[in-house]
Amino acid sequence: MTKMDLTRRGVLKTTAAAGAGLALPTMFTSSAHAVTNDPMGGTVTLGFNVPQTGPYADEGADELRAYELAVEHLNGGGDGGMLNTFSSKVLDGTGILGKKVEYVTGDTQTKSDAARASAKSMIEKDGAIMITGGSSSGVAIAVQGLCQEAGVIFMAGLTHSNDTTGKDRKANGFRHFFNGYMSGAALAPVLKNLYGDDRKAYHLTADYTWGWTQQESIAAATEALGWETVNNVLTPLASTDFSSYIAPVLNSGADVLVLNHYGGNMVNSLTNAVQFGLREKEVNGKNFEIVVPLFSRLMARGAGENIKGIVGSTNWHWSLQDEGSKAFVKSFGEKYGFPPSQAAHTCYVQTLLYADAVTRANSFAPCDVAAALEGFEFDGMGNGKTLYRAEDHQCFKDVLVVKGKENPQSEFDLLEVVEVTPAAQVTYEPNHPMFGGDEASLGECNNGA
């Protein structure tokens, strides 16, 4: 059957030839430039990597709109948006360092594999010097890791898990969005004012990285108030019906239900909870309450009537009345006909911050850009005074506590701001145990090859 002849001489010959063949090409290895994708021509390419299909496609579409708006403003188009209110004035609408900004887009499909493939193609094929985007923490962490290895800057979009700038922090990655710990720290005093300091909380938590860190943060913050955590039940991410998880809540003696869910999960679990009449119940002589730690307008729209009066936290809301927010809402509204979401806001701001850092550093090299961003204090971007902390590349700014509006004026007017928690109150140590403790480190910044 087989006709393969293996002789010692033949094998040796083949091996030697193969070895020579393998060794030969390495002689031509060139190290032409020191920085990956250093823009040489008159343009600079940014990579916008957002979910265009899958559960977070709505957020992704809004992020993409914000990126396009940011590019327009950087290139001098439109009304300039937040460029006019930004405290740093080095951006003048001539692109970045005089190079016109171009962009490529990709679909993360909310899968870390697909997101990395898409980011790689932007880096390898399109010559992107910076990658930004992501609508879930798993994807953001995966792409952040890739950018660290490849030697480009990653500006995280919507990612709320503590891990992104906690145990998975990277020298080439930066996050403007707030996180689970901040949600907990911002919500706790408001919850105390609204519901008192003697409550029994029952947690339903999405069973994955973000859910755990969110639950851990909220439980710690409320227990510090004097609340008791009765139970924490993990729900599979793919669940669409939460009735079987809601029923035991009634018999547990708890008087607050905390839903550590996001997106479609939260819409379904909240709807189930309201259908079970939890909000009309009285337990331990108090009104039963529901808390949703992370809110977004897109989720509020999905939940409809059920969202009314529910308290949660958010990174930014379009009804804010500072100059930066007004300028952004105006130019976004003029271009697309409706107000931007918090995902759009953080992505827009991240793009501008990157452009500003490059300009101040006068270099596209990731290490120079990172140095310009570290410890950078700015204002006029919609969140008041903000600090990009050097130790973990996390932004520290005020956090909004919001409530579902009782009488919405329009389909976008769903949330009202209850309180703006000052940045000082949500600040933590870089080596906080929820953020990887002393072991967490940024590592070395990487300029690539």
Partner: protein, 411 residues
């Protein structure tokens, strides 16, 4: 090499395609508008061959025995996890990682195959699907709790600075490498006129491995064992009546096929050291089935073509946005331009699934034998030119399908 003439030709053609891919896949100059369609960058080329390996392996099971496994992504995922664990524990050298991924996927497929192969037809498919979804759920949440973190859940398993890596030495690259040759590096970047060609270390490792396993698959197809598997597909009852027990044969095919998938998983992790749970999701398993059917089930080269086709759409079409469309149609008058963009918009960018779906329907409807059948028809068209009309019956859908077509799913 123990191959007949036509198989040898096929192997040589595949070898030329695989080794010349950086040239073949980059036909357009970098600055031209068509550069969007270039696929010759390392990551996508790696995916072409890796998913090619996966589809070749799947075809050994599906194409030969007719058993339709809907859970092959589980083996891919298990292979990836095994490889990343080798990176974490030993070192970034890819050899032990790839070896372990094949072994672990093999063991895993013994387990799943032993149970699933007790049934055939649709019940077998459902069983494998159930196992794969179970593996996905385990990887996504159950095995990633803080106390026992085997898979790192949603984020995906990756290498951290604090990992032991006991064989890691100073001077070795901090990325997957083969005895110091980093997988992510390019050994040659050619610039010729407006063209750019990238020759990537990792890609050539994958391509060589693909050629080896492709050769093995040809030998397997032509072996007595392969004939036995075909017998299972054509009529299992008849086989039983002759006193033969088909179970060991199907189990062996299942395991070999699982090991191919594990190898693909190990290679994926070696090119990009991260293993995500969604690699095991049922959609990923479905994608493998699509690749095989699209290319041509039961043929040698078909699955590889199908894999390339799907990966091309996923990575190239999904990146065409409105901005790019406006550039393409910029030569038209304004109203016309907007109209064309409006027409094309639903089929590119986030609509890449739609385009792929339409093409899949067309192929299945008009070319039941997949892309391979399309190729054969074109070849026949040229061959028959000069001959008289009416010779059309010389066309054969697949030389392996004699005496008559058999159902692809074992009944």
């Amino acid at each position: 090499m123990g191959l007949n003439k036509s198989d040898m030709t096929l192997l040589i053609v595949v070898a030329i395609l695989a080794l010349g891919a950086p040239f073949i896949l980059n036909p357009f100059p970098v600055d031209s508008g068509m550069a969007q369609f270039n696929a010759g960058y390392p990551d996508l080329m790696q995916r072409f061959v890796i998913f090619g390996i996966l589809a070749i392996g799947f075809n050994i099971l599906f194409g030969l025995t007719g058993y339709l496994s809907f859970g092959h992504a589980a083996f891919l995922g298990v292979g990836s996890y095994a490889a990343v664990w080798m990176f974490k524990l030993l070192s970034y050298n890819v050899l032990p990682a790839i070896a372990l991924s094949v072994v672990v996927a093999g063991l895993f497929s013994v387990l799943i195959g032993y149970v699933s192969l007790r049934r055939s037809g649709i019940y077998f498919s459902i069983l494998t699907l159930a196992f794969a979804q179970m593996s996905f759920a385990l990887a996504y949440s159950v095995l990633s709790n803080p106390k026992f973190n085997l898979t790192n859940g949603e984020t995906g398993l990756q290498v951290y600075a604090g990992d032991p890596q006991i064989f890691h030495r100073e001077g070795l690259p901090d990325v997957p490498h083969l005895f110091g040759i980093a997988m992510r590096d390019n050994f040659l970047e050619l610039k010729m006129g407006g063209w750019e060609f990238t020759f990537n270390n990792g890609y050539y490792l994958c391509a060589i491995i693909m050629l080896v396993v492709f050769y093995l698959a040809i030998r397997l197809f032509r072996s007595p064992f392969g004939l036995m598997l075909r017998a299972v597909k054509s009529n299992q009852n008849r086989l039983n009546y002759t006193g033969l027990n088909p179970k060991p044969y199907t189990l062996a095919a299942f395991i070999i096929s699982g090991m191919y998938a594990g190898l693909a998983g190990g290679l994926l992790a070696s090119m990009d050291p991260l293993a995500g749970a969604e690699r095991m999701q049922w959609t990923a398993s479905g994608e493998i089935v699509l690749m095989t059917i699209l290319g041509g089930a039961g043929t040698l080269i078909g699955p590889v073509l199908g894999a390339g086709f799907i990966k091309y759409f996923e990575n190239i079409f999904s990146k065409i946005n409105d901005n790019v469309l406006h550039q393409w149609f910029a030569f038209m008058p304004d109203g016309m331009e907007d109209f064309m963009v409006f027409i094309v918009h639903p089929f590119v960018g986030k609509g890449w699934h739609l385009t792929l779906g339409i093409l899949f329907m067309l192929v299945v409807t008009f070319l039941p034998g997949g892309l391979v059948e399309g190729g054969q028809r074109i070849a026949n068209l040229f061959r028959n030119r000069g001959k008289k009309k009416g010779d059309d019956d010389s066309y054969k859908p697949d030389p392996e399908h004699h005496p008559k077509e058999t159902p692809h799913v074992a009944e």
